[in-house]
Each structure stands twice: as C-alpha cells, then as structure tokens.
C-alpha cells in the first residue's frame, strides 16, 4: 500500500487540527497524525476561554482579536457545535496599586483601539454579586474581546469538518523517523507504525512534544512544558457572570512585572493566579498556576490547596461548593511568549507551528489560517515575522 500525501500534519490538538483543516480547505491532500487520541494532550487539560486581555499589547493582542472574531465565523459555518459563546472578562484588582498597573495596561490597549475599561468597586459588585465586597476594582473586557469554547470540541470540530474536505486522520500513530533528501535536506517521507508515508511537507504541531519531532530532522526547538492545574466543581448555580482573572495572572505569565501581592508563601511558591469561569455544563473551573515540572501532569496536592486558598479571597461562597475533580496539563512555553509559526530554512518542506503556551485554544483558528498561507507560498494576513523560527537560529 502506498501512502502519498501533499502534506502531513503532526499533532491533533487545537493547533494541528486547525492547521490540517485549513490545508484540506485549500485543496491539499492532507493527513493528520496523532500519537494518541484527538485532543488527548494539552488541548483537553486547559481552560475554555479566548481573551485579548491576557496578551501583550501589539501582535500578541492582534492575533487574539483576529482569532476570536474568526471563531465566530467558524461557529456559524461548521455543523459541529464547539460551544462558542461570547462573554465578558474581568481582571480583578485586589488593591489600588494593582488597579493603577491595570489602568496603564488598559491605556496601551485603548491606544490600539481595544475597548477595555476600568470598573470601580461599586460597579464590579453589581456585575459580580458574589465577589468579595472589598475588591478595589477591575479591568473589564467586553464580549468583543472574550469568548468561551469547549477546547476539545474545537479539535473534534476541525477534524469532522476537515474530513468532509477529504482530510484523513491516523490516531495512535508512532513516528519512528523522518527521511530527508541526502543532497537538499528536503522532507521526503515519514516512517510510522502504519508504514512509510511519502510527503514533501510536514507541519510539526506537536505542542510541548514538538522538540521530539524537531530532533528527527536534526533541529532544536526551544519549547518547554509549563504545568497548570484546574479544579472542577459540582454542578452549581452561576457564581460568576464573566470570566474572572486576578491581575496577578499577568505576573504569573510574564516576567518583569515588578509587583508583590500579599499572599501566603504557599501561594507565592506555587505561582498561583486565581481564575474562575462557569461552563456550559454548569460546572465552575477554578484555577490556576504556572510551574516548570517537566512532562509530569499528575495533580499536586500543594497546588490544589494553594488555588483554593487564593480562591477564598475572591469568592468566599466557594467554601461550601464541592470540588469533584482536578486536572493538570502542560503548556508549550517559549521564552518570548510568542508561538513559532514558520518554515525552517535548513530543512525545506519542514514547518513548525507550536509553542503557544496558554494561548493555543485562543490562537487556534488564526494559526491554522496563517500556516496555510505560508505553506501555499502566500503572504500572511498581517506581518507575523516575529513568529519566525529564525529568531532562535544563531
């Protein structure tokens, strides 16, 4: 049996499924390979929102806004329902200095045309009747800049819609080698447990596992797993109307924010940033944190305690709601907090589309569309040269 494809996409998470869908949509004979099941890695061990207000001003936010709007278009176009919903987001500021720092961020985003605004204590308590009454204020992002989706349904949707366009999928696939042309170093084929697959183009969308695929073609991809944990509540009444994040989230995500919170050593050590959302299934998701722990995704009891401790500060009514499950996943972290969406000069036909850290769900539609432009040799919808792999090649 001869397996020949125009393009092979590796990894069936939020990025790989989107990339494969967009390539199939452009008429390429596309194969999606996945070492486990669809959405079995980071894309099913995450939260369920896409935001602009957790992005750095500039290209980071621009990609977020593009993706959020494009999600709405896809939700209308697809038969497969991935639970798209617009909602608002509140970055809650415990103290005045946090409020000032968030105001500064708001001003920068306003200059670029994003309608974020500050809300003071009284308005915050009206918007969120269950929040602690002494929270200083919040940064509000209207539904134009915040959405909710089911992250794994996004992956299934891209797969099912892609299949209609002729895309093929092989799950539980082990990749044992990638063969390159001896003279040109260009991609020729992939060896798998299903046999040899011939292709001139490979897109590495393996997220935190992308470095392993990179090794098969002799390149170093600087992505590290950054762990996060979420807690799931029993079904309960709607405790929050918006997606809630504490301003400290920015500090847990980015370096160089010079600000100290009054929190316990446990919360500090666990790098906790409280966030809360109410899902379509009427559960609460309570998070979260960022830690480097290798590929270990077991839940740590210290993390669970620290998240709950921090959650009590903002939503004391959580004390009587039950937690039914915890889960941890790993984000594909890149040192400059921008993904790699790029071809690779030294290996013609090899592309990288990985390293979205905690933004993979949010950036999924945007990234898939741009990767299709790159593969087709077209210009991207706007300048994304800062996502080029060459920034890491010395």
């Amino acid at each position: 049996m001869s397996l020949v494809y125009d393009v092979v996409v590796i990894g069936a998470g939020a990025i790989g499924t989107s990339v494969a869908y967009h390539l199939a949509d452009r008429g390429l004979k596309t194969l999606l390979l996945e070492k486990g099941d669809i959405a079995s890695g980071s894309s099913s061990h995450c939260d369920a929102v896409g935001l602009i207000c957790d992005k750095q001003p500039g290209i980071d936010t621009k990609m977020g806004q593009y993706s959020i709007d494009y999600y709405e278009e896809l939700a209308k176009k697809f038969d497969f329902d991935f639970e798209f919903e617009r909602k608002g987001c509140l970055y809650v500021c415990e103290t005045e200095p946090e409020f000032e720092a968030a105001s500064e961020y708001m001003r920068k985003q306003n200059e670029d045309g994003y309608p974020l605004r500050m809300v003071e204590n009284k308005e915050l308590c009206e918007m969120e009747p269950h929040i602690s009454k002494d929270i200083f204020g919040a940064l509000y992002t209207p539904p134009s800049g915040c959405i909710a989706v089911s992250p794994y349904k996004v992956c299934f949707a891209f797969v099912e819609e892609g299949k209609k366009l002729g895309m093929e999928v092989m799950t539980y696939c082990d990749i044992t080698g990638i063969n390159l042309d001896h003279k040109t170093n260009a991609v020729e084929s992939i060896d798998t447990n299903y046999g040899r697959i011939s292709t001139k183009r490979i897109i590495n969308c393996a997220g935190v596992w992308a470095p392993e695929i990179g090794k098969l073609v002799g390149i170093d991809i600087p992505i590290e797993p950054r762990k996060g944990t979420n807690l799931v509540s029993e079904k309960c009444e709607r405790l929050c109307n918006n997606k809630i994040l504490e301003y400290g989230y920015m500090m847990s995500k980015f370096d160089g924010i010079n600000f100290k919170r009054k929190v316990s050593k446990l919360v500090e050590d666990q790098n906790i940033a409280f966030n809360l959302e109410y899902t379509k299934a009427c559960n609460l998701l309570v998070g979260g944190n960022r830690l480097f722990r290798g590929y270990d995704t077991r839940t740590e009891i210290e993390t669970v305690k620290a998240i709950c401790e921090r959650a009590m500060r903002f939503y004391p009514e959580l004390a009587d709601i039950k937690c039914i499950r915890t889960y941890s996943g790993v984000r594909p972290f890149v040192i400059d907090h921008l993904p790699i969406v790029s071809d690779v000069d030294s290996v013609p036909g090899f592309y990288i589309c990985a390293g979205h850290e905690g933004d993979g769900i949010c950036f999924s539609p945007f990234t898939g569309k741009q990767m299709a432009h790159i593969v087709m040799g077209e210009s991207t919808d706007f300048d994304i040269s800062s996502l080029d792999y060459s920034r890491f090649v010395k």
Partner: protein
Amino acid sequence: MAEYFSDDMIVCRCEEVTVAEIKEAIRQGAKDVVGVKRRVRAGMGLCQGRTCEKMVQQILAQELGAKPWEVGTSSARPPIRPISFGDLANGVVE
C-alpha cells in the same frame, strides 16, 4: 452483557448519556474510556464514572471487538470523593 443494552438506555446517570451516544462516540474514533468521556461526557459528572465506567468499558469492548481491560480506565485524579473548596483551602498539606 452489552448485547442486552437498548440504544435509549441511560448509561451515565450524572450526565445523562445514552448507549446510542456512546456508540456514536466510538464511531467518531473513541477507542477507550477517556475517548468516550471527552466526546460525550460519560463519566464527567458528580460520581466521576464510578457508576458507569464498567458499562462504558463493556460497550467499547463489544463495539471494537476488544477485551474490557483493553479499553482503559478514566485517569486517576484527586479528590477521591467530592470535598468543598473551603475544606481544601484549610486542609493541612504535608
């Protein structure tokens, strides 16, 4: 045993998932308990699959022609039983 299940029978009581929905998840590519859970929520509710997991395994085994122990289990995650966020916050961690 699975051959006696009718399609409209509810397997996961917490999330109200039927035999037909589980079969559809398998048709969409689910090969194990976690794959079914992710596609149709069987085992995602209050009891976390304590009641339905055995039946989901049997349906998987029947549909895929596999042995029940070949179709996996849900991942083990704390807590063992539902516990309030307040108790978790106040608990001692050693």
